[in-house]
C-alpha cells in the first residue's frame, strides 16, 4: 500500500482536459515533484487533491483511505496541507494569527466555551501557540510575528505560507512553486527547508516547481506533465533528459 496514490485522475473545464488520466504514487517520507510547462495542469492537480475541484474521473487514495469525495475542509484534518502559487494568506491579520488559524483542524473547543473563554479554551490556545512557535523557530520568522501580512515583503510571505502549512501538522505537504518570485539566496534557503522538512520532520512533500536546480536538489521522484497528460516519471535526471520532456519545454 502506498502512502498517497493518484489514480487516473482527470478533470475537464469546458472543452479543455486540464488533467487527463494522471497516475502516480508518492512514497512516505519522499519528495515528489511535478514539473511541466505553463498551463500543464500542475496546480489543477493540487486543487483536485485539496478538493477545491471535483474530478471528472479517477481516485485519490491517502493512507489507504479513498479521499476522492471528502469535503475540502476535511482535507487538513486528514493530514494534507498546502501552499498556494499566488500566496493566499490572510492579509489583514498578523503573521501569528495566520499561523494560529492553521491549528484550526486541531480545534476542540465549542462555540459556547469560546464565548466565555473558559479555562479549557485558554489552555488550548496556549498549546496552539506553542506548536506555532516551534514552526516560527524552525523557519526563523520571530521578528515578523506581529506584523500584518500586507506589510511583509514577498519572500517573507512565501515562507509564511510554508509555515502556515506546517502548523497544521501535516503528513503530506503540497507546495505549489515554493521558489517562484524568490531570489537565488531565498531559493537556497527554501531548498534547505524542504530537505529539513523531509528529514527532520518526516513529512512527505508533493511539490510543483519550475526551478530545475531546486528540483534536482531535493526531489526523489519527478513527474513531467504536458497538456494535462503525463510525459515521463522517474528520478530527476531521468526525467530531465527524457526526449519527450525536452521537446515539451523547447517546443513550448
Amino acid at each position: 500500500m502506498s502512502f498517497f496514490k493518484v489514480d487516473q485522475l482527470s478533470i475537464n473545464f469546458g472543452g479543455i482536459k486540464a488533467v487527463d488520466g494522471v497516475s502516480f504514487d508518492v512514497d512516505k517520507g519522499s519528495v515528489f515533484t511535478i514539473i511541466g510547462p505553463n498551463g500543464a495542469g500542475k496546480t489543477t492537480i493540487f486543487n483536485l487533491v485539496s478538493r477545491i475541484y471535483e474530478p471528472s474521473g479517477g481516485r485519490l487514495v491517502f493512507e489507504g483511505n479513498d479521499i476522492t469525495h471528502v469535503p475540502p475542509h476535511r482535507v487538513a484534518k486528514l493530514g494534507i496541507a498546502r501552499t498556494f502559487q499566488n500566496i493566499e494568506l490572510f492579509e489583514h491579520a498578523s503573521l501569528l494569527q495566520n499561523l494560529l488559524l492553521a491549528r484550526h483542524a486541531h480545534k476542540q473547543s465549542s462555540f459556547f466555551s469560546e464565548l466565555l473563554f473558559l479555562p479549557s479554551v485558554r489552555r488550548m490556545e496556549v498549546e496552539h501557540r506553542e506548536a506555532v512557535e516551534k514552526v516560527i523557530d524552525f523557519l526563523d520568522l520571530q521578528q515578523y510575528r506581529e506584523s500584518l501580512i500586507v506589510n511583509l515583503p514577498y519572500g517573507v510571505r512565501k515562507v509564511t505560507e510554508l509555515a502556515r502549512a506546517l502548523c497544521t501538522n501535516p503528513k503530506l505537504l503540497l507546495l505549489d512553486e515554493p521558489s517562484s518570485g524568490l531570489n537565488v539566496e531565498e531559493t537556497e534557503d527554501m531548498a534547505f527547508w524542504i530537505q529539513d522538512i523531509k528529514n527532520l520532520l518526516g513529512i512527505t512533500v508533493l511539490m510543483v516547481e519550475h526551478d530545475m536546480k531546486l528540483v534536482s536538489a531535493v526531489s526523489d521522484r519527478v513527474l513531467a506533465l504536458n497538456y494535462g497528460r503525463p510525459l515521463a516519471q522517474g528520478s530527476p535526471q531521468e526525467v530531465q533528459s527524457h526526449p519527450e520532456v525536452v521537446r515539451a519545454y523547447l517546443g513550448g
Binding site: T43, N47, F84, N86, E88
Partner: protein, 284 residues
C-alpha cells in the same frame, strides 16, 4: 395591462443596464445610479418647465448634463477606489447617492413635480387600450438598446470599450486610453439613467426619492439576470416589472413591493449566479 408592467420593467432594465455597464468595465457597483436618474429627471424638468424649452431639447440637455456629471464623478471620485474592497465602493456610492438626494432637496425642495410630455393620448387596438406614455417607454428602451448595441459593436470607441471591459491590462498595452474609456462608460451609464428617468417621469412623477425605489428594483433585476450580463439586466428588469404588476393585481396587498424580492431570493437560492451569469470563482 401587460404593457404597463413591460414599460416599468423596461425602466428597471435600463437602470440595471447602467449598473452592469459600469460593473463590467470597472468592477464598481454604483448604488447611486437611481439618484442619477432622479437628477436627470429634475434637470429635464428645469429645462422644460422653468426655462420653457421644447421637450426634446430639454431631454437632450438633461442627458448631456448628467452624462458629463457622470464622467466627472468617475474622474474625481470613483477612479480612486478601483481595487478597494467591493464593500467600500458600495458604501461610497451609497454616500454619494445620499448627497445627491440632499442636493436635490435643497435645490428643488421636496415637492412633487410633473413633467409635461408629448405622449398623452391612447391608441385602441383590437379593443385594447395602449397609452402613449407606456408605449413611449417601451419604444424608448428599444431605440436606446439598439443604439447602444450599434455603438458597442460598430464604432471604434465602442469596441475599445468592450475590450477594456474584458481585459484592462491588455487594452492598456494596446494603447487604449483606459481612464478615458472608464469616464466614457460612466457618462453612458449616467446618460442611460437619465433617459430612464425622463421616460419614467410621467408615470411616477418627479420627486427626490424617485430614484431610490427604482434603483433597488433595478438592482434586483441586475442580480436576477446575473450581474454582469447586459441581456440579463434587460430581461431581469422586464421580469421584475411584470412580477410587480401581476402581484399587485392578483395577490393580497403588500405583495406588490415584496413579490419581486421573494422571486429574487428563491432564484438566488436555486441559481446563485443569476439567470445569465456565470459563477465566478477565484482561481488559485
Amino acid at each position: 395591462m401587460t404593457l404597463n408592467g413591460l414599460a416599468v420593467g423596461c425602466i428597471y432594465g435600463l437602470v440595471a443596464l447602467g449598473f452592469v455597464l459600469i460593473y463590467k468595465a470597472t468592477e464598481l457597483v454604483n448604488f447611486a445610479q437611481g439618484d442619477l436618474l432622479m437628477l436627470g429627471a429634475f434637470v429635464a424638468y428645469m429645462a422644460v418647465v422653468w426655462w420653457g424649452l421644447d421637450y426634446w431639447v430639454g431631454f437632450a440637455i438633461a442627458v448631456v448634463v448628467i452624462a458629463v456629471f457622470g464622467a466627472l464623478l468617475d474622474a474625481t471620485v470613483l477612479r480612486r477606489v478601483i481595487g478597494q474592497p467591493q464593500f467600500a465602493v458600495v458604501m461610497l456610492t451609497i454616500g454619494l447617492g445620499a448627497m445627491f438626494r440632499t442636493f436635490a432637496s435643497v435645490t428643488w425642495g421636496s415637492e412633487i413635480y410633473t413633467l409635461p410630455t408629448p405622449f398623452s393620448g391612447v391608441w385602441t387596438v383590437g379593443g385594447v387600450t395602449l397609452s402613449h406614455q407606456y408605449l413611449s417607454i417601451v419604444a424608448g428602451t428599444l431605440v436606446l438598446c439598439g443604439a447602444l448595441y450599434g455603438f458597442f459593436t460598430h464604432t471604434r470607441i465602442g469596441v475599445a470599450m468592450q475590450a477594456t471591459s474584458q481585459n484592462q491590462l491588455a487594452a492598456y498595452y494596446m494603447g487604449i486610453p483606459v481612464k478615458l474609456i472608464f469616464s466614457l462608460i460612466w457618462a453612458i451609464s449616467a446618460g442611460v439613467a437619465t433617459v430612464a428617468g425622463i421616460l419614467l417621469a410621467p408615470v411616477t412623477l418627479i420627486d427626490i426619492n424617485m430614484g431610490l425605489a427604482v434603483a433597488l428594483k433595478a438592482f434586483a433585476a441586475a442580480v436576477l439576470g446575473g450581474f454582469g450580463s447586459i441581456p440579463g439586466a434587460l430581461v431581469g428588469g422586464i421580469i421584475i416589472g411584470l412580477i410587480e404588476l401581476y402581484a399587485g393585481a392578483t395577490l393580497p396587498e403588500g405583495f406588490k413591493d415584496t413579490a419581486p424580492y421573494i422571486v429574487l431570493l428563491l432564484m438566488l437560492a436555486v441559481r446563485p449566479q443569476g439567470l445569465f451569469g456565470t459563477l465566478g470563482r477565484k482561481k488559485v
